[in-house]
């Protein structure tokens, strides 16, 4: 059992059930792996090793007593550092929350702990989840395990990197405009953004409240689904959450209709990405799926609507960080305004400031109708277009990121270039739909992973898992980076 850390969560669960290993052994292996590799990967802002070992020991005790265990019992999980963990620092990778220790657990964390999962640590990210490379962290930039000179994508950069580097089998990410799917794609793993409302947001530090959704990331489809199963469902603490019951998935796409929207295969998407995505569609076709063409004409507007809505909501959500109740306190404290301005100016990074100002601007007097209200109406139109498209198909297949992962520092000075990369992912958040990122090979140019996206109707996560599972079986599993 030398490489317990590299097992899938499903394999770990199997061994635990058979009492061939203990959760403490698994957890120690994972801790050891992180200690050996995290200097290079830099996935974690906070480790939770002492607590993790206690949690693992508690599960082992239950196993010894012969108690029936939930799916995630004894399995190490990494949690993105924007989900509140009681008595464990939660920073959102921001200087603003550098020493913030929540007095409560996010609902997803509470659910995982109830199942007996082992919280191994908190992963780095783009500050307040704003970014798509992981470079906007106030603390550290996680590395892409396939090439550590490259970004892992973002904003769930640490969660993608730690899973791809086989430090842990599964991790939680959050996705406001692609922040689970895009880093999963760039790191060659599976990641899913569930339907808006299927997973509680309570305890997720809000970025764009009407778009944010927590979701699972793993190296295989079964693990992704298993983590999703343990976190989904209505939460009375989240008024936007919905009644949702996890449905089991299959592995056959026979008779499933896949829609291909031409608007997602435009000039902005590199040839190598398009080619791999088309090839994935061929694989699914060979497994019995039907392929139809669909149209989503408002796609071009989605990016604008996304930046208006997410920034407006963020500008309001981040107002609470003022140096008074928690978090960073600025250097000037003479008057209230000085305290506010110095705390916020010193505590937030430039990308966060840009979005707060954009959001403040689009909501300000005289501009509300032209920007925010229009974007919200557009949001409905985009959702309607998806509804129409789903009359012709069961799922829609698209690329995720226009290119493979770029080198650290390559684009971080150009916010507009960074924003343009979100074009394939933001529409789902706008429409509240579920989407899954599935690895589909490597670029011959740089040997970096490429993924494709399957988009479903609301609350059809089971169908997306079915498509992903079928594809995974057809290609004989996904490649794992050895190092």
């Amino acid at each position: 059992m030398g490489k317990l850390y590299s097992l899938s969560a499903a394999q770990m669960k199997d061994l635990l059930n058979k009492k061939e290993v203990t959760s403490v052994e698994i957890t120690k292996s994972v801790i050891d792996r992180i200690e050996k590799t995290d200097k290079e990967i830099q996935a974690y802002i906070s480790y939770n090793f002492d607590e993790a070992l206690k949690q693992a020991a508690a599960v082992d005790e239950k196993i010894a007593k012969g108690e029936k265990l939930a799916d995630m019992a004894g399995i190490p999980v990494a949690v993105k550092d924007n989900m509140c963990t009681k008595n464990l620092r939660t920073t959102c990778a921001s200087k603003m929350l550098g020493n913030f220790v929540p007095p409560y657990n996010a609902t997803v964390v509470e659910k995982l702990l109830d199942e007996g999962a082992v919280i191994i640590g908190k992963t780095t990210m783009d500050e307040f989840a704003m970014g798509s490379s992981g470079e906007n962290s106030a603390f550290q930039v996680a590395r892409n395990p396939w090439d550590t000179s490259r970004v892992p994508g973002g904003s769930s950069s640490g969660s993608a990197a730690t899973v791809a580097a086989s430090q842990v089998p599964v991790a939680l990410g959050s996705d406001t405009g692609g922040s689970i799917r895009q880093p999963a794609c760039l790191c060659g793993i599976v990641g899913m953004k569930p339907t808006y409302g299927s997973v509680s947001r309570y305890g997720l530090v809000a970025f764009g409240s009407s778009l944010d959704q927590i979701g699972p990331m793993a190296r295989c489809v079964d693990d992704t689904a298993m983590l999703f199963k343990s976190i989904c469902g209505r939460d009375m603490r989240d008024a936007t959450s919905k009644d949702y019951t996890y449905k089991p998935y299959g592995d056959s796409v026979k008779g499933i209709k896949l829609g291909i929207p031409k608007q997602y295969f435009g000039d902005g998407i590199s040839a190598v990405v398009k080619e791999k995505v088309y090839r994935a569609v061929e694989v699914l076709k060979a497994q019995g799926a039907e392929v139809v063409e669909v149209s989503l004409p408002s796609t071009d507007y989605a990016l604008s609507a996304y930046y208006i809505i997410s920034s407006a909501e963020a500008s309001s959500n981040l107002g609470r960080f003022d140096g008074v109740k928690y978090g960073y306190t600025g250097s000037k404290r003479g008057s209230l305004d000085e305290l506010y301005e110095s705390s916020r100016s010193e505590g937030f990074g430039d990308e966060v400031k840009r979005r707060i100002m954009l959001g403040t601007y689009v909501l300000s007097s005289g501009f509300y109708d032209a920007y925010y209200k229009k974007a919200k109406i557009l949001q409905k139109n985009i959702a309607k277009e998806f509804d129409d498209a789903f009359k012709l198909c069961d799922a829609i297949i698209t690329p995720i990121n226009p290119t493979t992962a770029f080198k650290i520092g390559e684009k971080s000075d150009d916010p507009l270039a960074m924003y343009a990369g979100d074009i394939c992912t933001v529409t789902l958040n706008i429409a509240g739909l579920p989407g899954i990122s599935i690895p589909c090979g490597f670029s011959a140019e740089d040997n970096m992973p490429i993924g494709f996206q399957a988009i479903g109707k609301k609350f059809t996560e089971d169908k997306l898992f079915t498509i992903a599972k079928c594809y995974e079986n057809a290609v004989g599993g996904f490649a794992v980076k050895e190092f």
Binding site: T90, Y104, R201, L204, A239, S315, S316, K325, Y326
Partner: protein, 480 residues
């Protein structure tokens, strides 16, 4: 007040609702708890927390909407009002912007003997902010978040109010209505009802509004009266000296009796309202709206007018009886017994009962006194079974004990004696002992009759029927 000008006033009343819990979390909604003990991550606005709307808040607000004759919007939402202040931990207040729960209503109030109808623009629900305590020793300010998330309704009137008296009458009526509906403690001294006052003036006969000034920090309804009077005079003074009233927000200082500029129009806040993404649209079913309307009690102004027309009571007495829901209920129970006249019930309640309530600073429901006992006692007086004086003796007992007045009369021997035979000896004795008074009467000072009857009453230990005694005294002197 310069009679060439007319005052125009609009009022914004904030009332805390008396729900068990806060508007968006399960923390207790109570006044006076130790600082920062009724708080949780939600009402303190910790990162990651989300609001969940308390359905009781919606019901209470709809009740008020019905009471003020509003249209109830069954499909509505909540919006964020963004501004930075240390009593507002999220840096936004969850309120309602373009679709208030209730709108387009009115309230009839009594001003003098007139009924005045004042338009109600809207009633919306929102959360209260925390409390800042200024601490001189620390040289800083302390923040207590217990009040954060206490549910509020904001009642906005049309600019229909034309005098400080009208404003006072409107505020008093809002206050009693809140208490009648049982939706707010409406305790001014605890700050559970507060108001902002908008004042402008214009030349008499003008149909256009003058420049409006908003006054903050008006902490009581009598302060509202003073603030309006002051501000109207200030504006009239400015205008009559050829000046221009500036659109601004002023702060009322009730101790000094004047207002000072808080901020000018240029500093007007940009609240950046937008729908709260954490709270979806909410729909109140029409049948629920209708049910709440059907259950609405008769309100104080309607009661006052009914007491006046049905029972012939004065406006002042009717208002006093209707002011407190419990008093009004007590009054109506007494009258409903059919044993005694409304006028006598009103006199007893407003006299002896109110005296006790004032002395004990308690509510009518805190007394052992029952409507049955009081009306029975009054009927005994009306039937002349007992004298008014004996009535007071009975009242002293029944106010603190649920005891049948007939029993008390029997036990204490209070029944009035109307038998002239039994009273003749008393009259004889009193006249014999008060020769001077008898002579005074004979010489034309007829008002001494009261003294002589009083002496007879005393002699009869209060049991003599005073009107019969009077007749007997007069007859006895005349016969002498």
């Amino acid at each position: 007040m310069n009679s060439n000008y007319e005052i125009v006033v609009g009022l914004e009343v904030h009332a805390e609702l008396s729900t068990k819990t806060k508007i968006f979390c399960g923390c207790k909604n109570e006044f006076g708890a130790e600082v920062n003990t009724n708080v949780c991550p939600v009402c303190m606005g910790l990162p990651g927390t989300l609001p969940v709307l308390n359905e009781q808040v919606v019901e209470y607000a709809i009740k008020m909407g019905h009471a003020l004759n509003c249209h109830i919007n069954s499909v509505t939402k909540q919006d964020r009002k963004n501004y930075f202040y240390p009593d507002l931990p999220k840096s936004y207040q969850i309120s309602q912007f373009d679709i208030p729960l209730c709108e387009n209503g009115y309230l009839d109030v009594l001003v003098g003997d007139e009924v005045k109808r004042i338009g109600v623009t809207r009633i919306h629900i929102e959360e209260d902010a925390g409390k800042l305590i200024h601490d001189a020793d620390l040289g800083g300010t302390l923040a207590d978040y217990n009040r954060c998330g206490v549910p509020l309704i904001e009642i906005v009137s049309e600019p229909d109010i034309r005098s400080a008296d009208e404003a006072k009458a409107y505020l008093d009526t809002i206050h009693t209505t809140l208490l009648y509906l049982g939706i707010s403690d409406a305790k001014m001294q605890e700050g559970s009802v507060r108001c902002d006052v908008n004042v402008s003036v214009r030349p008499k006969g003008s149909t256009e509004f003058g420049t409006r000034v908003e006054m903050k920090n008006v902490n009581s309804f009598s302060a509202a009266h003073r603030a309006i009077t002051y501000e109207a005079n200030r504006q009239i003074d400015v205008l009559s000296h050829g000046g221009k009233v500036e659109q601004e927000t002023r702060k009322w200082d009730d101790v000094k009796g004047r207002s000072v500029v808080l901020r000018s129009k240029e500093d007007a806040q940009d609240y950046r309202y937008f729908p709260d993404p954490d709270l979806l649209t909410f729909v109140v079913p029409q049948e629920k709206i209708d049910r709440l309307k059907a259950r609405l009690p008769e309100l104080p102004v309607a009661k006052t007018m009914r007491y006046m027309s049905r029972y012939g009571l004065s406006k002042a007495d009717s208002e006093l009886l209707a002011l407190d829901k419990n008093v009004a209920e007590f009054f109506e129970k007494c009258v409903g017994s059919g044993k005694c006249s409304a006028k006598n019930v009103s006199n007893w309640i407003l006299g002896d009962v109110f005296k006790i309530l004032n002395e004990r600073r308690c509510s009518i429901n805190d007394l052992a006194l029952t409507a049955e006992n009081l009306s029975e006692m009054i009927s005994l007086i009306e039937k002349k079974t007992i004298s008014n004086a004996a009535g007071k003796t009975v009242f002293e007992v029944i106010v603190d004990a649920d005891k049948d007045p007939n029993e008390i009369v029997k036990e204490k021997g209070l029944a009035q004696v109307s038998d002239t035979g039994a009273l003749a000896a008393i009259v004889e004795k009193v006249l014999a002992n008060n020769e001077k008074a008898v002579n005074d009467y004979k010489s034309g000072k007829t008002n001494v009759i009261g003294f002589l009857v009083g002496q007879c009453m005393k002699e009869s230990r209060g049991q003599g029927n005073p009107s019969i005694l009077k007749e007997m005294v007069v007859a006895a002197i005349d016969n002498k």
